[in-house]
């Protein structure tokens, strides 16, 4: 517990991080930077889980394990996404989403 720091501070910080990630997801045109925006979004959700767990249910550990599993899923997702990005780069020699516009040819 952190006296002097209300739960709302954590929630507002996490939502700021979430919507900065959304902004990046909408404006970026490079696949790797889009992936980085998604990582920001996932990370802000983890902060929420842990803050709720610590402040509202300190006797339980559900939020803790949820964020542990979110981190594991994020790692798997990043590995597969980067494999796809490298494959796209090999075929199109670019990873700009606007130049990758054919599925099959």
């Amino acid at each position: 517990m952190n006296p002097g720091i209300p739960l709302e501070f954590y929630l507002i910080l996490a939502s700021a991080m979430f919507f900065i990630g959304v902004y990046g997801f909408l404006t970026r045109r490079n696949l790797i930077t889009i992936l980085m925006s998604v990582e920001l979004i996932l990370n802000s959700v983890n902060i929420n889980f842990l803050a709720f767990n610590r402040y509202l249910f300190p006797g339980k550990l559900d939020g803790h394990f949820f964020s542990l599993f979110v981190i594991a899923v994020a790692a798997a997702e990043a590995a597969v996404a980067i494999a796809i990005i490298i494959n796209i780069y090999r075929r199109f020699t670019t990873i700009n989403v606007e130049d990758v516009n054919s599925l099959k040819y």
Binding site: A16, I20, Y23, T27, N43, F57, F65, L68, I86, R90
Partner: protein, 177 residues
Amino acid sequence: MEGKQIMFAIFAIVIVVFSIFTVTSRKILRAAVSLLMVLIATAGLYFMLNYQFLAAVQLTLYAGGIVVLIIFSILLTSQLDHKFEVVELKKTIFSALAALAGFIVVVTTILEHSFEADTAAATEVNMEVIGKSLLNTGSDGYVLPFEVISVLLVAAMIGAIVIAKKGSPVKEEKSNK
């Protein structure tokens, strides 16, 4: 008490400033390094919340693993001195408006509710508790998601290898036209 507030302010400023750098920087490697700073500051927040195990996982898996993976793929796919073109003004304005509208809705919803912190004694999160919970089938057990995650990790590993390995030479030639 005062010290904790100062630490929280520092972490919050680092997170917000470097998140904005991550999504606006025109050099891709700088964006990746800003992402690293954000993830480290997040680990600091976890330490402040007294979840030492998860902070260590955050540092090793996110800051050590995913960022290195991203930097490797940047080095494989981009020219380092390449700068992204400036985003069109119209797109910037509309994206910023969408993000800002969402942020305002979420923050007003948060502030409408009053959260009363539970003052019950916190369970200590040490390795014994974590290990017993992860492999427990009872009401506080997480053995099912634990096993599902292990299957997911194997599937992701095999999938990444199959996707990223070189195809047959005929396909490679076709793709060059």
